[in-house]
Amino acid sequence: MSAGYIDELHEAFHSDLVYRSEEIPLECSPKPKEMEQTLHGVMKLNGLVIRSLEEIAGRGANAVTYRAGKKFGHEVAKYFQKREDVEGALHELSDLLRGQYSFEVWKPEDKETFIIEENGETFIYLVFHDCIVRQTLRRNGLDQGGPLCQTLFGYVVGAIEEITGRKAKLEIVHTGPNACLKKLVLK
């Protein structure tokens, strides 16, 4: 390794910055634009982990990721306000997911209300618009609906259960490049 290169490295990691200890960090660094490469790295890594998990655990991969997501959902939602009404719970959930996922409550035009009762089931359709899982899958050329989607499923179910105190289930109706339709079944 040449001395020139070592000096170059030293220079790259040296600055005149005065760093004072802080109690609570007030901002993240670097600026979002500069994080693009980091984000791609994280997406790539997540994709590889999921691909390997699928190779080793086969269909069992879904159960593992669903369970991990559900635990995480329960854990995070613990600190949120408890709500019995579904509308309030969904509001809490959208606050919880902000920045990573965004969703809206949706209904087909032939339905009167957003809470639909059909074949003895009560459910709500949710359209997920922004979704970091979809981004990661597309970044890695992986199919939607697999183990990584199951983490989000588990997360939503865990959070809804924690907020409402009721059992819930989430089903995929359709996955698309710009939005996915899911069915939140309330028990």
């Binding site: 693009e36 618009h129 597309r138 359709h174």
Partner: protein, 80 residues
């Protein structure tokens, strides 16, 4: 939601009819027609599958696209 099908571009393959989960399209005289636009939830699967790029959605929410690698796209733009 407003959906426009370019009648001149549409090749009548019916892929959008089959793929749309909300049954928004129907084939009429070998051309796709958006008969239930209000049932569209904006997944854009139809755009991805249409070989003729004949579809246009107005008033849609475009989800964030973090997956696009601008460096790769810049390189591709130089070649294509």
């Amino acid at each position: 939601m407003e959906i426009h099908v370019d009648k001149d571009a549409c090749v009548g393959c019916g892929l959008c009819v089959k793929d749309c989960p909300m049954h928004v399209y129907e084939l009429q005289d070998n051309v796709s027609v958006a008969v239930r636009p209000n049932n569209c939830m904006g997944c854009l699967s139809c755009h991805e599958i249409c070989p003729a790029q004949a579809l246009e959605h107005r008033g849609i929410y475009a989800a964030r696209r973090h997956y696009i690698d601008v460096n790769v796209c810049e390189m591709l733009r130089k070649v294509v």
